[in-house]
Chain length 178, copies 2
């Protein structure tokens, strides 16, 4: 077990990821794209070729994946829709989806505003996240795509850090524990 940062390189950008203690088991590297335009841009550039070309809408989730998906949308012209983790007062007829299992044993609920759900209907949808771990959140997002009447064509993640059940295209594997 070590406190040393974990080094990651995407394109020409290298970051020393801080590691955080998880329980008493060990440490995990922490990806933080928020606040880091240079790294976010490098990741978006690298992720772009992994996006299925038939994608008509990207679906992401607050909060950490937000600048990345924005940057990817900027590069591809493909619009994106955001799933929230709290009910917003302005939502109309939201789709509500429980996340099946959480690593930390905390229950989480996803909210997709009805206005946004209708923009997935009949569309080819790719899920975009920064990190996929157990895949619970992505699984709930897949259910949302389905319930909204969209057609899921792929899941892409910058990093894989665990064993998700569904196929995911990703740039790099991160250790789950160091």
């Amino acid at each position: 077990m070590t406190n040393k940062p974990f080094s990651v390189t995407v394109g020409t950008v290298t970051r020393e990821l801080p590691t955080i203690q998880v329980g008493e088991m060990g440490r995990v590297p922490l990806v933080e794209l928020i606040g880091d335009v240079e790294f976010t841009s490098a990741v978006a550039d690298a992720l772009r070729p992994l996006l299925p070309p038939e994608t008509e809408v990207m679906l992401t989730v607050v909060t950490n994946s937000l600048p990345l998906t924005h940057a990817l949308s900027e590069r591809t012209g493909v619009p994106y829709v955001v799933v929230r983790k709290k009910r917003r007062t302005y939502m109309r007829d939201p789709l509500i989806q429980e996340v099946p299992s959480m690593t930390l044993g905390v229950n989480e609920t996803l909210w997709l505003d009805g206005r946004h759900a209708s923009s997935l209907k009949g569309k080819r949808v790719t899920i975009v996240v920064d990190v996929v771990a157990s895949g619970g959140t992505v699984e709930a997002m897949q259910r949302l795509v389905d319930r909204a009447g969209g057609q899921l064509v792929g899941c892409v993640a910058a990093f894989r850090q665990g064993e998700p059940k569904m196929p995911v295209r990703y740039l790099q594997e991160l250790p789950k524990m160091i």
Copy 2:
């Protein structure tokens, strides 16, 4: 009282903002930059000249202001730091700040990770948000800048929708009630 959308133009981009019912008093136009790269880019372009040129770090807050601040950082090269509204497990020595008053009577707490607080220390900081209303959140962010040892040089917002106590540079005024 009407259900008609409220039209806003920034640069060459026009959006019909949906309006949402607030209590029994009336409706307010809802700004949503998330998921809208074209509008976010237009707002960032327009906001750029309002950013005090001496700014060394921008401070923003989750969630709606995130793509805008990312876009502004992309354009200016000025880095940004994000205040969260929930404690994250990875935070170390976070600064915790109550939002003094909330429009809806809900108490809110802001969290600034210690790592990020230290990146404000001794720096000229500008607060960036999408919408400033009563100014409670911005006031709490000002306190955070102060407590982190930063020097506040300005507050910029895309839209003003209320009567904040502090001076704010903004693009347009939105009606508080229609």
